[in-house]
Symmetry: C2
């Protein structure tokens, strides 16, 4: 039996980041990474394997960082665990001092009649499955995508490039329901212009076809025909290994962890999609699963395996996220107006639209809209939604830093930023500041003595 | 004599932002903006009037925001002031309750023999002057640019697009001397590849020619011929009006102001390039002049004219700045390594290079390098330099927010950011975090018990 100081189970972004961080912190410890998939994929790149990337293997997570850091990779499944010994599907047993569970998430198939038919696919994070999906797509024309969340719309955007006949069915009132509806409506407009069909506020109640999918029946009884159905209804934590080890878990939410991602078992940590997440604002369970959150957790655990070196008060998941549909980037961080209403938060909204170059006749200029949500009483920034050009991808990260630092309207109003004609909006029009000023103007109108 | 509650002198970004902010805060006050230039330009857009923008008027600061906010615009020069009355070049006199001086900066012509010859130009912020320069450029081939700071290299980049024969002469060891030399050397490489000639560590001691410039003599005695000489050696505060009013000024540094940008005279404020700036780290006078700083000052004063509504402890100028040369963006914020050495700061440097898309085969991917300077003892982030693709323009603003919030290596290590295949580096490679990890690894090696 082989002995390791650290064993990480799971080869996704959380596991890899944790392994590298652990090696940075404890270079002399012996470490192994056990993974089920011999060729793990970059999760957020998966939609782009359908068209933008020539080969699915272009989306593989490279092994070099692990090899360079002397982390031993074993392609196997963990089938049992007792007394800090893991039994692998290869028949081998290995001993760990510290175990990190990074088993990720699994796709959710909603309970709809007929999903067992051929031609019904999930967006799985598995190389061979996707190869098969891609091959099916190449011979079909008419595709229905169930679920208009960000993965669903990214898949649609890719398949439209392949001139496919695409229909998205989303049960909520607008696409990307984690954003406010006006942003989802803009996504819809872009997809419609690209020839996509979009059905919102409806669900699929039956998959039709004789062995192979030929269409779907919606909950209003109407029927749509298709050659292929792609189901993109989210993911849930993969708790298989955690249950084998008898860790305390919350079904559908993840392995319970403390501020340092320690599980109910001494010496066992859980990170990434399989670990329970708590919302930054409410402290309630969060369903947000993002590679960037997984990575932050991986680095924290990697640094703290044998002693607490990186101290933190875990702040909860902010859910900073961006995507690009057509030529427009959409990004969100923290509280949306929709969620502020659901949670009865007392909020003040500020909005601003600008051109992301200056003067506006600089080539490549794109309109950018920033919508901010502030706490009315504390004046703290709670959330942002942005749509615009490619620079929005980093602008939302600036917002993330603002929220994590509990910045207020006044902090942002006197902020020092850099602007440049070829890269940003003009300093006079800079939309993050001007949306803040818009909120401030609302406060000015109501000044208690 | 007309009476105003607020008079702003200067029509650049500081003045305009201040006017709008003042109107947002005090909508009922009567306000006037007096400006010398009837058609003020967007300062940072000036290099781009030489080629990228079709017409110089494409770079005009729009009057709409002032008109929409009911700020009266007067095109005149202030020639005298007594008892809160301004005498204008038009012969009119106006009375103010509050005066804001936003007269900007003027170009610096170094004391070199022969600069009075025709064909010697500065980079003036004046429409007609630039029209003349542009016309001269159209009929000349061989141009020398004196000064390889950011404006000099931006002008060179524009003129290379026009297939001109360009030589830059910079007295420091590398271009853009406000950045570390390896960044300036990279700028040089890009310009050389574009056909530019670059001479560093040399200065011009004489302008040659009979009435019209025909060349220059360098300080090593060598001679370069040219048809046109563009001098880009910086700007100094325009103190003309301040001196007329007998405000306390520091020659070459600006009108002395307190934390709220109040001058030595009650009821008179100064903002933008004409107001003295203090360095964020050292508190010493700073020569940094940026539209974005001017704008932050304009908003602060606009809000506080009649009573302090926006409270701040003035933090000093951070100097967040970005530019694009060829296809590469360069950005800096806070302390460079060069400056850390000059000031004998005890610093720890972290560096990381990544690809700004993921996986790296996503089209449009560009290499991005982030260099960070941390305080060795406090672990606080002091500065950053970045080169890479267009997204660097907003990435440097995220860094600015980090420094202003005094974030440490550990705060950044556990940061929640958003990443996306089409927009950012992978979460595993995200260079701001990985440069921080690089610095952390250096600390790990020296751990006092």
């Amino acid at each position: 039996m082989k002995n390791y100081d650290v064993v990480i189970v799971g080869g996704g972004p959380a596991g890899v980041t944790c392994a590298i961080s652990a090696k940075n912190t404890y270079p002399d410890k012996k470490m192994a990474l056990i993974r089920k998939e011999s060729k793990p994929l970059i999760p957020c790149g998966i939609p782009y394997t359908l068209n933008t990337l020539k080969n699915i293997d272009d989306d593989l997570l490279p092994d070099n960082p692990l090899i360079a850091n002397n982390v031993e990779i074993t392609n196997a499944e963990v089938i049992g665990c007792s007394n800090q010994n893991l039994l692998l599907s290869t028949g081998n047993e290995i001993h760990f001092e510290k175990l990190v569970i990074a088993t990720g998430s699994v796709t959710v198939m909603p309970p709809i009649e007929g999903t067992e038919k051929s031609g019904v696919f999930l967006v799985e994070k598995k190389r061979d499955y996707l190869e098969n999906l891609k091959s099916e797509i190449s011979t079909t024309e008419k595709i229905i995508i169930l679920g208009g969340g960000y993965i669903g719309v990214e898949v649609a955007d890719e398949l439209l490039d392949l001139q496919k006949d695409i229909t998205i069915v989303e049960m909520k009132d607008a696409l990307i329901p984690t954003m406010d509806d006006e942003f989802g409506k803009k996504v819809e407009t872009i997809l419609l212009e690209r020839g996509c069909k979009v059905i919102t506020s409806k669900s699929i109640q039956k998959v039709l076809g004789n062995g192979k999918v030929s269409g779907v029946e919606l909950n209003d009884g109407s029927v749509l025909s298709c050659d292929l159905l792609i189901v993109s209804c989210g993911y849930k934590p993969n708790l298989e290994l955690a249950k084998k080890i008898n860790l305390v878990v919350e079904e559908g939410k993840g392995i319970l962890v403390d501020d340092y991602l320690r599980t109910s078992e001494k010496n066992i940590f859980a990170i990434g999609d399989c670990a329970a997440k708590y919302d930054y604002f409410t402290g309630e369970f969060s369903n947000v699963m993002l590679a960037s959150t997984a990575m932050a957790e991986g680095r924290l655990v990697g640094s703290n395996l044998f002693s607490i070196k990186v101290i933190r008060k875990y702040q909860g998941v902010l859910g900073t996220f961006s995507t690009k549909i057509g030529n427009t980037v959409f990004a969100v961080c923290g509280i949306t107006e929709k969620r502020a209403k659901e949670k009865s938060l007392d909020y003040t909204m500020g909005i601003s639209t600008a051109i992301d170059r200056h003067p506006i006749k600089i080539p490549g200029a794109t309109e950018v809209t920033v919508k901010l949500i502030f706490s009315t009483y504390s004046h703290t920034l709670l959330g942002a939604q942005i749509m615009g050009g490619d620079s929005v991808g980093e602008m939302i990260n600036m917002i993330s830093v603002m929220i994590l630092n509990k910045m207020t309207d006044m902090d942002i109003d006197t902020l020092q930023i850099g602007t440049h004609p070829l890269l940003t909006a003009s300093p006079i029009a800079y939309p993050v500041i001007n949306a803040t000023v818009d909120a401030i103007k609302k406060w000015y109108r109501y000044q208690p003595a």
